[in-house]
């Protein structure tokens, strides 16, 4: 077996973005949002100081599934929806590795929905990056779990009759310890968000709002375009009041259980009336409220909704083994073979 090493104990290595670029030709449609996600992922990798060989990218099926081929690390392109299960087994067997799960809205929330739920609640120490383009791209344009109600696609010619799920709400309900949202075209924010997620100890979930210029062009255009985004998106900053708008004059206030959009300076509203973001709050209420806010009722929150520390799945698994050995010593095979009553035949 390869000697296991804790990523924290390995010597920081000086790598550059280029070290993480594989020799494979990238084959996404020109203009696809995945290019940006790949570029920022490669860019952020050197910052972790983890040697390439200790990093594993695992993907499922869909356009996003190809990303591991383009990373010059270890990579596993698995089957539809199951990447989190491979990552779980790998982390249990090899807690020393840094594991990334690359998935899409169909892969994670439809066929892989059950694994999404359970890997989050177990706090498996990996970073899941979900490319959310609200459409099935690789199968050429069917409705996805995040498609709008009434959306017309090849499989829903008269409009989808399914209500979309809110991925961040799902992640929070599943006890995820790190939940964030970012946008493919907001490259700097994307990079910072990936970095924060990668540094989190435990299950990290990052929803990347991504465009599919072939089957769902303009998936998030209404609020992500340069000219409107300041007014229609809420950039979350830990410990700061929730202010947005080109003029930085709008904010979020809580009325009863409901958030409301207010204008600073109107009706006596001041900055002190606004909600202050607290990503490290132990309870999930604020994060849950933020996860339900969406355009056009609200500006769309981006950034880290929740970032709390809990023991990871593999930490707990290893601790039980250590305790068992501490209590009764390492297992003895001869004793196990002779368990129960034995007798001797001469």
């Amino acid at each position: 077996m390869t000697q296991m090493t804790d990523p924290a104990e390995t010597q920081p290595v000086a790598l550059t973005r280029k070290d993480f670029v594989s020799d494979q030709e990238v084959r996404w449609c020109p203009g696809c949002g995945d290019y940006s996600i790949l570029a920022q992922t490669q860019k952020v990798m050197p910052d972790f100081g983890v040697p390439r060989e200790n990093i594993v990218f695992i993907s499922g099926i869909g356009c996003s599934g190809r990303l591991p081929y383009y990373m010059n690390t270890y990579g596993f392109h698995s089957i539809h929806g199951r990447a989190p299960t491979l990552a779980t087994g790998l982390k249990v067997a090899r807690p020393d590795l840094m594991v990334w799960v690359i998935t899409g809205d169909g892969d994670a929330l439809s066929i892989g929905g059950n694994h999404f739920l359970h890997t989050m609640r177990r706090n498996v120490d990996f970073t899941m990056v979900m490319h959310n383009n609200r459409i099935y791209g690789l199968t050429k344009g069917q409705t996805s779990p995040t498609s709008e109600f009434g959306k017309r696609t090849k499989s829903t010619p008269l409009g989808s009759v399914d209500r979309p799920v809110m991925p961040l709400t799902l992640a929070l309900a599943a006890e995820a310890t790190f939940v964030a949202r970012t946008v493919d075209t907001h490259t700097e924010h994307l990079q910072h968000t990936l970095e924060a997620a990668g540094r989190h100890h435990g299950a990290s979930f990052v929803e990347v709002l991504q465009n599919c210029n072939i089957f769902n062009d303009g998936a998030w255009r209404e609020f992500t375009e340069r000219d409107v985004r300041d007014d229609r998106m809420l950039l979350l900053e830990d410990g700061r009041p929730m202010i947005f708008g080109k003029e930085r004059d709008k904010g979020i206030r809580l009325r009863g259980l409901h958030p409301e959009v207010v204008t600073i300076g109107q009706d006596g509203v001041t900055e002190d009336d606004l909600l202050v973001h607290d990503a490290h709050a132990e309870d999930p209420y604020l994060a849950l409220i933020l996860s339900r806010m969406f355009w056009p009722e609200y500006p769309v929150p981006v950034g880290v909704l929740r970032d709390v520390e809990r023991p990871t799945h593999s930490d707990l698994v290893d601790a039980q083994i250590e305790q068992a050995i501490e209590k009764s010593g390492p297992g003895d095979l001869a004793t196990a073979l002779l368990a129960g009553e034995t007798w001797t035949v001469e």
């Binding site: 390869t2 299960t85 067997a93 009764s328 297992g331 196990a336 035949v345």
Partner: protein, 620 residues
């Protein structure tokens, strides 16, 4: 009941073999009773074979027919292979147990009934129009009516227990009586009671009293004129323990991980009759075993692939419906050529079928049940003890050939028990394989060992071997995604050749009986005992027959065709509707005759003998 302090004169009759079946409500503790009798007989030195037969319902309505739970044990002074076709003794704790089991009792067999349970209510629940104890319908048996509930309650008088709690101990009264009847010591069970109920002195005392009261009842009643003695069996020298197939499976994989020098990972989702393996491996924390209860069967399989990718000896365990769910991921394991073992403890299907009942109908599923050309080795243990050695063998093949392996156990071999000679660790093979190490030039994740055709096992964490694998077809050697038509054909053939080549690395198919002749009885899996015993009988009757039993279902041992050619006819009995027979006919162009019965029960020796004689033209 007559009691006397004078010793009663009784005959002692020596027997070579006795088969007892305990039957009662699923809440009556029949499995425990049977297990205790088994341990006692095993420790005494008999050869034993058991068949626990229990309902899927945890607690069906008390007294009802579906709620009957049974445990059959055969113990003998000679080498035996099955738990017996028909019990010589039936212990029936209520009318439902009598009704569902008495048909199996040999004519003239002993029937011990708890007469207290034959109330109008219980008779109605068992759909008896009249009381069988009084209507003469049991004339062909030796009936012993024992008011077990009453006698047991009397023995427990004075203990601080509810009448319901007292009633729960009556199985130990029956056990005590059987211990007396077969001259068995109560000591193993008494020490078990101390261990189990040490912290609850009243319960411990109640069970002790119940056991001793049953034993004393046998001693003092005049009902039994004979006691029976089954001498020790002449087993090969060594240290023995009693073991079930599932226990031997778990233990085998634990040992395999040490022999391979790799940590053991077990990913599983609870399913009957495989869950005991999960329980056992979950308790091996001191050995560093990582047993993971997944959210579903698919996740268990995915996690197993992930652990194999990381360098562990990785396993998953399930039953047929679980394999159905894992199928796509098993295909991924075939495509990525990672080593792991998939344990299928088969049960009666299709669908949910009869979850606690015996069947071996997942052979096609194991060999063929995936999309695309997706070959993998399939092994099947024949006896509870063999589950141990075959677990090591399955691991050896998986590691050496970098392939998923299916290990086909079944409910009969998994739950059945036999005395098992504990092996010495020194006698077990080294099954370790090296990890890939960086060499000169580009790393080729799909380069192959010229002998085994195995690809290298390049573990994450190894500098210089960074590579990408996955479910898409890979270019030969280089491992890049490839849609090249010739490459796909070449890779498909390579994967098939790799698995087929294992035939040269496994033991030849052996025969028992005539070296050539009229009939070969060919089987696989848990039917071994019945087929072996049937062959013994046919040989004793002077027929030119032999038995061959396959442990390797894919690939078949290299000499299989040659063995088949030495007999005029081939009979393939299976607890399915002819799956191995179909494979034998297709592979060897042999006119194999299928004998398939799916009743949720193992074969009886007699029916195999009858079928063989029919083919041989005996008595026609």
């Amino acid at each position: 009941m007559t009691t006397t302090t004078q010793p009663i004169e009784r005959d002692v009759q020596e027997l070579d073999r006795v088969t007892i079946r305990f039957a009662g409500d699923s809440g009556d503790g029949m499995q425990l009773t049977g297990t205790q009798f088994t341990r006692t007989a095993a420790v005494f030195g008999n050869d034993i074979s058991t068949f626990p037969d229990y309902p899927a319902e945890i607690r069906a309505p008390a007294g009802s027919l579906p709620g009957v739970s049974g445990f059959q044990i055969s113990f003998a002074a000679s080498d035996i292979h099955t738990p017996g076709d028909a019990p010589d003794v039936l212990v029936a704790m209520n009318p439902a147990a009598l009704k569902t089991n008495v048909g199996d009792l040999t004519a003239g067999g002993a029937l011990i009934v708890n007469s207290d349970a034959f109330t109008t209510g219980n008779l109605n629940k068992a759909a008896y129009a009249s009381n069988p104890l009084t209507d003469g319908s049991l004339k062909q048996y030796r009936v012993f009516e024992v008011p077990i509930s009453t006698l047991n309650a009397r023995a427990l008088e004075g203990l601080e227990m509810t009448s319901k709690q007292i009633d729960l101990t009556k199985n130990f009264f029956a056990l005590g009586l059987m211990f007396w009847l077969y001259e068995r010591s109560m000591d193993p069970t008494l020490s078990w009671i101390d261990q189990k109920f040490g912290a609850r002195p009243v319960i411990a005392e109640a069970n002790r009293r119940a056991l001793k009261a049953g034993y004393a009842y046998g001693e003092t009643t005049e009902m039994f004129h004979t006691v029976y003695r089954v001498p020790k069996a002449r087993l090969a020298p060594g240290t023995y323990r009693n073991i079930t197939g599932n226990e031997a499976t778990g233990l085998g994989f634990l040992v395999a991980s040490k022999l391979a020098g790799r940590p053991l990972f077990y990913g599983s989702y609870p399913i009957t009759p495989a869950s005991d393996i999960l329980h056992q491996l979950s308790a091996y924390k001191q050995f560093g075993v990582k047993a993971f209860q997944a959210e579903d069967e698919i996740a268990a399989m995915g996690a197993t692939i992930g652990a194999a990718y990381g360098g562990a000896l990785a396993l998953t365990g399930t039953s047929g419906p679980g394999v159905a769910l894992k199928t796509e991921a098993i295909g991924l394991a075939v495509m990525t050529e990672l080593p792991m073992v998939i344990v299928n403890v088969q049960r009666a299907g299709p669908s949910t079928g009869m979850p606690t009942k015996v069947e071996q109908a997942d052979l096609f599923q194991a060999v063929f049940g995936r999309n695309g050309e997706s070959p993998l080795p399939v092994l099947a243990p024949a006896t509870p003890g063999e589950c141990f050695s075959l677990a090591i063998e399955a691991s050896r093949i998986a590691l050496k050939y970098m392939t998923p392996v299916i290990y086909l156990s079944d409910a009969f071999v998994a739950n059945g028990a036999e005395p098992w000679r504990v092996p010495s660790l020194d006698d077990l093979p080294d099954i370790s394989v090296p990890d890939a190490v960086p060499g000169n030039g580009t790393f080729l994740p799909y380069a192959r060992d010229p002998e085994t055709l195995a690809r290298p096992w390049a573990l994450p964490g190894t500098p210089g071997l960074e590579h990408r694998i996955g479910g898409l077809e890979k270019a030969d050697g280089l491992g890049n995604v490839s849609y090249d038509p010739d490459n796909h054909h070449r890779m498909s053939v390579l994967r098939a050749r790799k698995v087929a080549g294992i035939a040269a690395d496994i033991p030849p198919l052996e025969t028992y009986g005539a070296d050539e002749g009229e009939l070969l009885i060919l089987g696989w899996g848990s039917t071994y005992g019945a087929l072996r015993s049937a062959t013994e009988r046919l040989l004793a009757a002077g027929h030119q027959v032999a038995q061959a039993h396959l442990r390797y279902l894919n690939p078949f041992p290299a000499n299989t065709g040659e063995v088949l050619s030495r007999y005029r006819r081939v009979l393939v009995p299976e607890v399915n509707l002819g799956q191995l027979a179909f494979m034998i006919r297709g592979t060897y162009l042999v006119d194999a005759v299928s004998y398939g019965r799916v009743r949720g029960k193992p074969f009886r020796i007699g029916e195999i003998v009858d079928e063989a004689e029919r083919i041989l033209g005996v008595g026609a």
